[in-house]
């Protein structure tokens, strides 16, 4: 099924590979329907060892926009992100209540297929973590574990996404060399390409540019801006300027609660809550 999604994606990042025309993972049935195609959080509470980390979170994350979650350290931003892809399941002593609806289904349900969830939600973390393999194996890893075995398809996918993040020109001659030999900016782009290769709907970025130099940071930021046409991007950041630069929708969190959420202009120009005002003006961070 030729997907309109990929057509427009191809136009953004021109590439020669014919095989990239096909989509390898059949999209979720509900993806095309009416109804909310972002993430809807209903009354989420997360406790880790009797400490309440997230309190009564109610949010709607818009589809195909860049959403920035801002707030001081320790306010639960990372925990919220990691609850979206259920990495918090493995933490000792964790207790959750509430719902997170993606494509109309509650992903916190015990019967929900976690591996499929993690395919449609990609995570780019603060410190780039290349797997102990070659560059092309890194990108192909996600596809391999979800069942794509054809070597031709895999190499087409690798080429496509390396071009998409702008790494192709830099590494095309050493695809088999270990990924750990790349610079840190290149590694972060590699991690992004790796997450994209499994065709997610959402990309979560947990302070994705904190470990990078300014040039690489700008690089990643412009990639996010390009990508938001096809993916919903949720960024956690403690750099307010970054939010101002690229966000469409902003959520301010403090001590595990959502204080205020809205369009970027509203939050930064007309914050309604006193805490938000103080945070934005730099009274605390």
């Amino acid at each position: 099924m030729k997907n309109y999604l990929f057509e427009s994606f191809k136009n953004m990042f021109p590439c020669d590979s014919e095989l990239a025309n096909c989509r390898y993972f059949s999209p979720d049935k509900k993806f095309m329907k009416d109804g909310y195609s972002g993430i809807e959080v209903q009354n989420l509470n997360v406790y880790i060892r009797d400490n309440q980390i997230l309190k009564n979170i109610d949010l709607s994350i818009p589809d195909k926009k860049i959403t920035c979650i801002i707030g001081p350290s320790g306010c639960g931003k990372s925990t919220l992100l990691r609850t979206f892809n259920r990495l918090t399941d493995d933490v000792e002593g964790v207790k959750r209540s509430g719902k997170i609806l993606i494509n109309g289904e509650n992903i916190l349900d015990d019967n929900y297929d976690i591996t499929e969830l993690r395919r449609i939600i990609g995570l780019v973390s603060q410190r780039p973590c290349p797997l102990p393999m070659s560059i092309s194996d890194n990108i192909a890893y996600g596809c391999k574990i979800h069942g794509i075995k054809n070597k031709k398809q895999l190499s087409a996918i690798v080429e496509f996404y390396l071009k998409a993040v702008g790494l192709w020109d830099e590494v095309h001659d050493r695809l088999m060399s270990p990924a750990t030999k790349l610079s840190i900016g290149q590694q972060q782009r590699l991690c992004l390409a790796r997450s994209l290769a499994v065709e997610p709907q959402f990309i979560l970025a947990d302070e994705a540019t904190s470990s990078l130099d300014p040039a690489s940071s700008r690089n990643i930021e412009s990639l996010f801006v390009k990508l938001k046409n096809e993916y919903s991007i949720i960024l956690v950041t403690h750099i307010l300027q970054q939010a101002i630069r690229i966000a469409d929708y902003v959520i301010f969190m403090y001590l595990g609660e959502i204080i205020e959420a809205g369009e970027k202009e509203e939050i930064f120009c007309n914050p309604k809550n006193k805490l938000t005002k103080e945070y934005i003006s730099g009274s605390f961070s």
Binding site: F25, S26, E116
Partner: protein, 287 residues
């Protein structure tokens, strides 16, 4: 395609999980089986007479008596070896950690040698001990056993104590020197600080040494009697098991089972208490 993928992933997951459970259970089962067998056979043979009498009529064919010879022999050999081993090992560890700088080549070579010595099988220690004894003109006796077990036990001591001593903060040593203490007095301070670690190492080493048969085979000999001088052969618990197990006479075999049970109990008590002290020690460590 989505449904098919899920299924194949599931089959592999299920099989692997089964294999994992089976492997872990095998470990538990093996231990349970060993403990049960030894206890079942050993308890049948165990009695007060067993541990307080010597075998009468020759250890291989005599029906009466117990294994006192082996118990006392083991205690003598391992006791003496432990004391001598400690006297030799503690200065070595002290020297390695306090005198020599951390990156010194001598320290590296020495530690490497101790690691090598740690890995050498006890039969080779037995053979070497035998060579030493021939060289020194000693026959298979208590002394020979002590020498060999001491050689066996020193690398174990050094390795265990060294591991703990490496994390020892040097500030205490500097403080001691700056108060005008001599090297010997400083060493006493260090020893007191390390004493839980030394105790653990001792318990673990004793557990290892008392159960070793191959090293004493050539060097300590075997006898029905309790040795009253260093030149006499000594019986040991492991050899008591080994030599008496294959006897055609039921009572002799019973002595072997009893010896095996006692040996296991002693070793377990020593090793487990060593681990307990180690765990407690690391909870209270000075940081």
């Amino acid at each position: 395609m989505k449904m098919k993928l899920k299924k194949t992933k599931n089959y592999e997951e299920i099989i692997i999980k089964l294999i994992m459970y089976a492997s872990t259970i095998t470990v538990f089962l093996a231990l349970a089986c060993i403990i049960y067998t030894i206890t079942a056979q050993g308890l049948k043979a165990l009695s007060w007479g067993m541990i307080s009498k010597l075998p009468s009529g020759g250890f291989y064919i005599g029906k009466e008596g117990g294994i006192l010879n082996a118990i006392v022999g083991s205690v003598y050999i391992v006791g003496a070896s432990t004391i001598i081993g400690l006297i030799i090992s503690i200065p070595i560890v002290f020297y390695l950690n306090i005198y020599l700088r951390k990156n010194s080549k001598l320290a590296y070579a020495s530690r490497l040698s101790f690691d090598v010595l740690f890995g050498i099988p006890s039969i080779v220690y037995g053979a070497f001990g035998f060579i030493l004894m021939v060289f020194l003109g000693i026959r298979a006796s208590l002394l020979g056993g002590i020498i060999t077990i001491t050689l066996l036990i020193i690398p174990i001591f050094v390795r265990s104590i060294d591991e703990i001593a490496r994390e020892f903060p040097h500030d205490i040593i500097d403080a001691s020197y700056s108060l005008g203490a001599t090297k010997f007095e400083t060493m006493k301070v260090v020893i007191r600080q390390l004493s839980p670690g030394i105790a653990t190492a001792t318990l673990l080493s004793v557990g290892r040494a008392i159960g070793d048969a191959a090293a004493v085979m050539f060097t300590a000999g075997y006898t029905d009697q309790i040795p009253y001088s260093l030149a006499q052969p000594a019986a040991t618990l492991p050899l008591a098991v080994f030599f008496q197990l294959s006897s055609p006479i039921e009572e002799v075999r019973a002595r072997a089972y009893a010896a095996a049970l006692i040996l296991t109990l002693i070793v377990l008590i020593f090793s487990l208490s060593g681990r307990l002290i180690m765990n407690n020690f690391s909870n209270n460590k000075l940081k």
